[in-house]
Amino acid sequence: MKKSFKLEELDCANCAAKMEAAIAKIPGVKKVNINFMAQKMILEAEDDAFEEVLALAQKKVKEVEPDCVILI
């Protein structure tokens, strides 16, 4: 499943790159792309694991930028 999410409070380009790298390592993630300028994340992951992957992704995001949230 491939879905696009809006990211709130994404202010640092370096952070976007770090988040992208961290989320890419989550098992079940096929592809992830974080567009800093558009504040958008495109996540492609296995259908049955999508919910968990998303939750983990949110965690990783907060680790890098505590204020940043993925709008579901």
Binding site: F36, A38, E63
Partner: protein
């Protein structure tokens, strides 16, 4: 500015004010010498620290808390942590004002970055303003199905085939065809053209255009999500997903660069601590300076920002670039390949020359136009258009279309034959081809006294054959004697019209750095030569089948090698394979041609070839700014790192090296938006 940004600005101002006051106070001898516990140095220090902590915390509390939060999550080598350690270190060695000033300066930089990024994002969301928020749809009312009501709905709720009313001053919400009304539209949001265009019943119009003069009713032809505006927005938003090589390089570079720098910082610290007499605090300080100035933020932010700005600037010119990588490739374009029909030419026909045999030009056109008036073949239409006046169809009798050859028409009681060379050959008309290139339409008249002879082509031939004067061996020889019935009246030369901007576009392309321009066409050699000469292309290949066009492109790509990029511009309808194969595929006729938008990398919203040089210049400027940013950032940072290692640079310079360079890089990146056409 957002609320958060405004709050930060207030904090900065307040903190700076307090810092200023403290510094001023410290200058006054009376106060400086009257500090409590003058002999007790430590207490003195505590007081000073507390005093300066006020402005420090006002401007930097979020950095400190952020640093602690991140340590808890394992993220240690982050900016916040570095800032905190560095400034704590500064407090420890008694540099109170420096610590506070550094924090202040850092926050200024962060605020600036936030504003710049916000501005860039806003320029894209301003594009969103071309998105209409509502549509007035005409539907039968629920209470009385015979009555049509005007209902205001969200544009996404309008179905294909429904009728939408657009009043003057409003935006057209969905792509559609005008079914009622005549008006003029402002298509600036889509094409960058500020000149209004006239549209009437039967014309297509696109979402995002502003209706200027009168109300019109439109029958929708697409769903809202598929309408032009939505497509453009999606394209631009997704454009930064395709990263340019340069961006990829920066990411890879950062991954290598950061560990190296951290290692260097640690080494320098150890070296200074162990082998010099600087002491641990000062050695650590130097290491921190190096670490701080090394942050690759300026690089990582400015590169995407520049490309985003470039793509935004391009879309304001009606040039849609589908990816940063294409913008980058465009900057290196060396060879430009152009399709002929529909790209260099308009793709419609017009009369170029009229060559009558003995009669008047106007008479020839008159006859031809009358004969062709019932046909909707583009050639027929061009003749009718050249006639210009009213076609008196009362003069026109029977019209017979002879497939592949032309028309037999009875005008004013006489039989005329209007058609190509093959038709003329069949009726034994003494025709001659024109020296001018193009499609030739010949006109001949059957002068037979016996009108029955002219009833059909075969009748004419059999009549001629019945008369001995027909020489079967010389079929185009003039018929002699009484059987000389076919009189050749002359011919009309018709050609595809060159686009008005084509020649200028070619000049523009060369001046923007394209070295070679090649034209490919399926049309014949003569026509191709004419167009080639008129536009000024370097070389051309004619008579190509679609597959052969791809072959030619492959050959050009091979010849180009790695020394530059090959771009192809076509109108998309049958050029999809070539568009995909080229390094950069540029599509014309984007309005309405889905195939073009799909296959192409760059889309020219208004079919104007003159936009290509504009796009090239924009691409080059963007790339130049990106390179400038990278070079300056790295040079300054490495310079300060070296100075820091030698002890010649303090935290203030380190913060400048990071924040100052960031601000400069962002300002430079915003320059991309200021490109004139």
């Amino acid at each position: 500015m957002t609320k958060k940004q405004k709050k930060n600005l207030k904090r900065i101002i307040l903190s700076a004010a307090i810092l200023g006051i403290l510094l001023a106070l410290m200058e006054i001898p009376a106060i400086r010498d009257r500090l409590p516990f003058p002999e007790n140095a430590i207490a003195n220090r505590i007081v000073m620290t507390l005093l300066f902590l006020i402005p420090y915390l006002i401007v930097g509390y979020d950095i400190v808390t952020g640093a602690f939060k991140k340590i808890g999550k394992g993220q240690i080598f982050d900016e916040e942590f570095l800032m905190m350690i560095a400034t704590a270190g500064a407090f420890a060695i008694g540099e109170y004002s420096e610590a506070t000033a550094v924090m202040l300066f850092y926050q200024v930089g962060e605020l600036f970055q936030s504003i710049a990024v916000g501005k860039s994002r806003k320029s894209i969301s301003d594009l969103m303003d071309i998105c209409p928020e509502s549509a007035i749809v005409l539907r039968p009312s629920e209470s009385d199905p015979d009555k049509i009501e005007e209902i205001e709905v969200d544009p996404s709720e309008v179905e294909i085939g429904e009728t939408v009313l657009v009043k003057p001053g409003e935006k057209i919400p969905i792509d559609g065809e005008i079914i009622e009304g005549t008006t003029s539209l402002n298509t600036a949001a889509l094409t960058g053209e500020s000149l209004p265009v006239d549209r009437t019943v039967g014309d297509r119009c696109f979402s995002g255009s502003i209706n200027l003069t009168s109300a019109i009713k439109i029958r929708t032809m697409a769903a809202y999500e598929d309408s032009t505006v939505s497509k453009i927005l999606e394209l631009v938003e997704n454009s930064t997903d395709k990263k340019a090589h340069v961006e990829g390089f920066i990411t890879r570079f950062s991954r290598v660069y950061t560990p190296i720098v951290v290692l260097s910082a640690v080494l320098i610290t150890l070296f200074c601590a162990l082998f010099t007499n600087l002491g641990l605090a000062k050695s650590l300080y130097r290491g921190l300076v190096i670490l701080f100035v090394s942050c690759p933020c300026a690089l990582v932010v400015s590169v995407p920002l520049s490309f985003f700005g470039g793509i935004g600037a391009a879309s304001r010119q009606g040039i849609l670039v589908k990816g940063s990588n294409y913008l980058e490739a465009l900057a290196h374009v060396d060879t430009l390949v152009l399709d002929k029909t529909g790209t260099l030419t308009e793709g419609r026909f017009a009369v170029d020359a009229v060559h009558p045999n003995e009669i008047d030009e106007s008479v020839l056109i008159d006859i031809a136009a009358l004969a062709e008036s019932r046909s909707n073949h583009p050639v027929a239409e061009s003749i009718v258009k050249a006639h210009g006046g009213h076609i008196d169809s009362s003069r026109l009798g029977e019209v017979e279309e002879i497939a592949g050859k032309g028309i037999r028409a009875i005008i004013d009681g006489q039989t005329y034959f209007v058609g190509n060379g093959a038709l003329m050959e069949e009726i034994r008309a003494d025709h001659h081809d024109c020296h001018l290139p193009g499609t030739i339409v010949h006109v001949a008249r059957c002068n037979a006294q016996n009108s029955g002879v002219c009833n059909s082509v075969t009748d004419v031939i059999s009549d001629a054959a019945a008369n001995d004067s027909y020489d079967a061996a010389a079929p185009t020889a003039a018929l002699t004697g009484a059987a000389n019935v076919i009189e050749y009246l002359g011919h009309i030369v018709i050609n595809d019209v060159l686009k008005s901007g084509s020649k200028d576009a070619l000049t523009g392309m060369r001046s923007s750095g394209v070295r070679k321009v090649v034209m490919l066409t399926g049309d014949n050699e003569k026509v191709a030569e004419k167009v080639a000469k008129e536009t000024g292309v370097d070389s051309y290949y004619a008579g190509l089948l679609p597959a052969q066009k791809v072959e030619k492109l492959e050959a050009l790509l091979k010849a180009q090698g790695a020394s530059g990029k090959v771009a192809f511009a076509g109108d998309g309808i049958n050029d999809a394979p070539v568009l995909t194969r080229a390094d950069i595929g540029i599509a014309m006729g984007a309005l309405g041609s889905d195939a073009a938008i799909e296959a192409a990398d760059i889309v020219l919203m208004n079919d104007d070839l003159r936009k290509i040089p504009v796009a090239i210049r924009l691409a080059r400027k963007t790339l130049r700014i990106v390179k400038e940013n990278i070079t300056v950032s790295l040079a300054v940072k490495i310079g300060i790192m070296v100075l820091g290692a030698l002890g010649l640079a303090g935290m203030k310079l380190a913060v400048f090296g990071d924040v100052g360079v960031l601000i400069l890089a962002i300002l430079n990146a915003l320059r991309v938006n200021r490109v004139k056409s």
